[in-house]
């Protein structure tokens, strides 16, 4: 008898008041924490830690059981409790409706560029996608819905997903190149600087390494100022700059010379354009430094694959330009009317620049290694409604013994064993059984201001039977084949036109949720009205 489960006891416990209050209190505490998490760390983090976490689902299930059992305990029906039964059944029905929505519902976004057919709905789950463009093949896998980094170890062909970081922060690290083997004199240097003037300051990392990605360019600009990053050897030629203000450089060896070094005199064409004939590898190349960095042939066409190039510094005297060579820098001072050449004595040394109290500091310099934004797990931080830290989702891969990173901002394109592959961290998508095209986007503004008062999409809907016109705006969705399309947002394109964003939704649990809600409200009124007649509760 000892091992026999006492079902009545369990029913009484779960249906009892103490269990109910404990579950409600726990549920409330979680929600309170959730709202603060959402405020500090963003919606996604709050969802992953609390609102959509398994323990929170379990708590909701606990409430569900408590509500059902409390009603069971008070059977057979008593007239006094009709309101109470209605409330509890309403809650149970809402719960079932929500579960159906959770399991089978669809909630995503459809972006409509002007006058283009669209049918791809972006859903909320993170996926890792491998595309073989030549084979026309695509495979994808769901990434875990966690809030900390997760070890995965999932393998497809020779690609292994080592781990997934849902909230990462890019940290600048210096790494060895993966494929490229630089020779001794190869100009593959990279440097990190800190630029500051009285209005702004910023870290700038520039690189000449062929494997450095777009985060680390060789030219960069900040307001009116342009940074141009050049091989270290070129600093000497800038120092020797002569009256011609022209430099020749060999892009392969990074060697350079000025016309004055080799006594090459400028000549003028019939139209008074100056040019320099330069002998190189036994042939004569003709350069027009004021027109093009490349040599011109007799038909006035540039030879695109020339190793030797030229540069006219005269054009950099008007607009603030800072030439950086790693540990050295050159710039034109308008007040002193001459080119100045400075050197960072060591790391963390600064150079003063002639533009409104600006200065630049060398933070790091590497001749062979390249800079890389290494994703590191972090806790996201939200400010003014958007994430200022931790908006990077990153996957670490191992492909044939080498480590690679793919993030939601930077995909990866590789050629492995003769196959082109494209790797991406993205969102799950769904193709609608119909197509929608935005024919017109209308935005009204509050009179005399730039604040939108309403935004509306006029769309063309293409189904098997043909096309129809519809007007979607706030509080006026379009219902088609079980899907409901709501106007939710918009973005302005570079050319001034607007993309409209619609929310696409399928909710099979909707009728149950409405029914349950109605029962809940009517039940409450019923309950309290009946209760009124029962005079006084003794303390």
């Amino acid at each position: 008898m000892k091992n026999k489960i006492n079902w009545n006891e369990i029913e009484r416990t779960i249906g009892g008041l103490k269990f109910a209050v404990v579950v409600i209190v726990l549920f409330t505490i979680c929600m309170i924490v959730g709202t603060f998490f959402e405020s500090y760390f963003g919606t996604d983090f709050a969802n992953r830690t609390i609102y959509k976490a398994p323990f929170f689902m379990l708590l909701q299930f606990g409430m569900f059981l408590s509500i059902i059992f409390a009603a069971f305990l008070r059977l057979p029906p008593k007239k006094r409790l009709y309101g109470f039964y209605t409330i509890h059944s309403g809650l149970v029905i809402i719960g079932i409706g929500s579960l159906i929505t959770y399991v089978a519902g669809i909630d995503g976004h459809l972006t409509l560029p002007p006058n283009e057919m669209a049918r791809k709905v972006v859903l909320s789950k993170d996926i890792f996608k491998i595309t073989y463009p030549n084979e026309g093949k695509q495979v994808s896998t769901f990434l875990p819905y966690s809030f900390t980094e997760t070890q995965m170890g999932q393998t497809y062909n020779n690609i292994t997903i080592k781990r997934f970081i849902p909230f990462a922060e890019a940290k600048l690290t210096w790494i060895d190149s993966t494929f490229y083997k630089p020779s001794k004199n190869d100009p593959v240097q990279s440097s990190q600087y800190h630029y500051k003037n009285s209005f702004a300051e910023q870290d700038i990392t520039l690189s000449l390494h062929p494997e450095a990605n777009g985060d680390f360019p060789s030219t960069s600009s900040m307001g009116p100022l342009t940074f141009i990053y050049l091989p270290a050897k070129l600093a000497e030629c800038f120092k020797r700059i002569g009256a011609s203000k022209v430099i020749f450089l060999n892009s392969k060896t990074a060697e350079c010379f000025t016309p004055e070094d080799r006594n090459i005199a400028a000549k003028l064409t019939a139209t008074k354009k100056r040019f320099f004939p330069v002998s190189y590898n036994g042939s004569i190349l003709t350069f027009f430094p004021d027109l093009s960095p490349l040599p011109m042939n007799q038909n006035a066409q540039a030879s695109l694959n020339s190793e030797l190039k030229t540069m006219s510094l005269a054009s950099f005297e008007q607009k603030p330009t800072l030439f950086l060579f790693g540990k050295k820098a050159s710039f034109y001072s308008k007040s002193e009317q001459k080119w100045q050449h400075e050197e960072f004595a060591s790391i963390n040394n600064s150079i003063n620049l002639p533009w409104m109290g600006a200065e630049i500091k060398l933070i790091a310099h590497e001749t062979n290694k390249l800079p890389f934004n290494m994703p590191a797990p972090t806790i996201p931080i939200q400010k003014n409604g958007s994430l200022i830290k931790g908006d990077l989702r990153a996957v670490e891969l191992n492909i044939s013994g080498k480590t690679f990173w793919v993030t939601n901002f930077n995909g990866l394109s590789l050629n492995i064993e003769g196959h082109n592959i494209l790797l991406e961290v993205t969102k799950e998508t769904l193709n609608l059984p119909f197509e929608v095209a935005l024919t017109k986007f209308k935005m009204d503004k509050d009179p005399g201001t730039n604040m939108p008062a309403s935004y509306e999409s006029f769309v063309n809907l293409f189904q098997g039977s043909g096309s129809t016109n519809h007007h979607i705006f706030m509080n006026n969705p379009l219902k088609v084949q079980g899907y409901t399309l709501y106007q939710s947002s918009y973005q302005q394109n570079d050319n001034g036109s607007y993309n409209s964003t619609l929310t696409v939704n399928v909710d099979q649990g909707r009728p149950l949720k409405y029914l349950g809600s109605l029962m809940l409200v009517l039940g409450s009124i019923w309950h309290f009205n009946l209760n009124k007649k029962k005079k006084g509760i003794s303390a």
Binding site: T101, Q382, G448, A539
Partner: protein
């Protein structure tokens, strides 16, 4: 500059010079379009002067006179009006070199320091309130300059053949042709009639409905309601005359209904779109509810509760200007649905009003128990009244949350999205549900029930104000205002302290 010269000569040739030029009282009813709405100049000038100086008058000049005199600087008329900004933030005062008791600085001087303020704002790392103070001051400086060049004062003019109104700034409106033409008719003052023509243009095309706002602003109904409510409460508490108190209560109720109705007429939407209006409506709603409950339950104590809470809301509306702004502004697109806005938000506000009644009552009972006498009989009776109030509050709250869900489902396709405001309203519902269950099954005894009810209202305050002032994210944070965090913090502290003090019963 031609017009400036002309104006100068005209002014010298008339007797306007001595008497504030043409800045007269008649301008009050002039329509102006600013911040997306057409309103009387009186309202706009008052808002601007209040925003710039923190006061409603400039010395003995009315806001309209001051605004007008400042604006006509843009016409080249030199007026010696000086406005000073109100500066309260300690760090900002230090930065501007103000002495401890000196809280104002002339705008003309602030203009010269604009760049240094901008620089200072950029270098602040963590001090959020200081940054906000600087950015508010910079906005005020910009607005001051905009007014001073005559660009802020927009006047209505008929455009061509189409019967449309276009809005143009004062400097462009007051052309030489118009002034010269008028000079032959009214040589004493050719300016005021030209400017007032703008009103005729507007009224002939769009009607004069906007004038309602002038009466609304001048009637000061919030102040009157506050006064009447105080009198009603005083006759109840001090003079113990119930009938007179009831009379004044009804009078205050009528004043507040008129106040809310005028706002509805002016804005053309339900009066519940910012904190000012929600406080107003919850105060009005709870007073109405208290009168109804008191009548049907034959229980006078409801009037005490209703008046007590009504007093709190009216005090907030009248004195907490930094946190609650009375300005009527256009609505963000998502909220532009009068049906759902009025049903969902009104239900929630009425429920908050009902829960507030329970809060006043519970605290009153705690006070009486600790510092006066509260016998067992009365404690039980109060417990009953509290229970009744909570039933209404929670039923309406549940209904309001569901209506919100239905609205969200109807316009965004989701019933529930864990948005902070909706989550907090569910938290409030859960807390009161736990209390009601405990009370219903006698788990929570009456003496505890009173204290718990008093404390539970903190969750309402968090859902109502805290989400906007402390959490300030998510879809519902449209009504964000400054200074609310301090208010809320003080409320929590006071309420908790009071609960601790009254924890033990009066020792007999």
């Amino acid at each position: 500059m031609k017009i400036a010269f002309l104006i100068l000569t005209l002014i010298l040739s008339t007797n306007l010079f001595a008497d504030n030029y043409f800045c007269k009282k008649e301008l009050e009813s002039l329509p102006i379009q600013q911040n997306g709405r057409v309103k009387p100049l009186y309202v706009h000038a008052s808002e601007m002067i209040k925003m710039l100086t923190g006061k409603s008058h400039v010395n003995d000049m009315s806001a309209v006179e001051a605004y007008c005199l400042l604006s006509i600087n843009g016409l080249g008329m030199k007026t010696d009006i000086t406005l000073s900004a109100r500066i309260d933030h300690v760090d900002l005062m230090k930065f501007l070199g103000l002495a401890k008791d000196q809280h104002t600085m002339a705008f003309e001087e602030l203009i010269t320091r604009f760049d240094s303020l901008k620089n200072e704002a950029r270098t602040i790392k963590d001090n959020q309130s200081y940054r906000t103070a600087i950015s508010n001051l910079m906005n005020a400086i910009n607005t001051y300059q905009e007014i001073k060049v005559g660009e802020n004062w927009m006047l209505a003019e008929k455009t061509g053949s189409a019967n449309e109104v276009s809005w143009i700034p004062l400097t462009a409106y007051l052309t030489e042709a118009k002034v010269v033409a008028q000079k032959s008719l009214t040589p004493d003052d050719p300016f005021l009639p030209v400017i007032l023509q703008s009103k005729d243009h507007y009224v002939s095309l769009k009607g004069d409905k906007y004038i309602v706002e002038l009466y609304y602003a001048k009637a000061q109904l919030a102040n009157w309601s506050l006064l009447i409510t105080i009198i009603a409460l005083a006759s109840l508490v001090l003079f113990q005359n119930f009938n007179i108190a009831l009379g004044f209560t009804l009078l205050s109720l009528i004043a507040q209904i008129v106040l809310v109705s005028l706002r509805v007429i002016i804005s053309g939407r339900a009066p519940i779109t910012n904190m000012y209006e929600t406080v107003l409506v919850s105060g009005l709603g709870s007073l109405l509810l208290a009168l109804l409950l008191g009548h049907f339950k034959k229980e006078k104590i409801f009037i005490y509760m209703g008046l007590g809470y009504n007093l709190c809301t009216l005090m907030m509306i009248t004195f907490a200007n930094g946190m609650l702004t009375a300005t009527i502004s256009p609505l963000v697109p998502v909220l532009r649905d009068n049906f759902w806005l009025s049903t969902h938000v009104t239900t929630i506000m009425l429920s908050y009003g009902a829960l507030a009644l329970s809060w006043v009552m519970a605290n009153g009972a705690l006070f009486k128990r600790k510092f006066r006498t509260l016998d067992r009989q009365e404690e039980l009776r109060l417990g009953e009244v509290l229970y009744t109030t909570l039933k209404y509050g929670t039923t309406m709250l549940a209904a309001g949350i569901i209506l919100g869900g239905v609205w969200a489902d109807y316009s965004w396709g989701r019933f529930w999205g864990w948005d902070p405001k909706e989550t907090w309203s569910l938290i409030v519902l859960c807390i009161y549900m736990a209390i009601l269950h405990g009370r219903y099954t006698n788990w929570i005894k009456t003496d505890r029930f009173i204290a718990i009810t008093a404390g539970a209202f903190m969750s309402v305050m968090m859902a109502w104000f805290g989400v906007n002032y402390i959490l300030a994210t998510g879809l519902h944070s449209y009504g964000f205002s400054e200074g609310g965090a301090v208010f809320l913090g003080s409320f929590f502290l006071l309420q908790t302290t009071f609960l601790v003090i009254t924890r033990t019963k009066k020792s007999l």
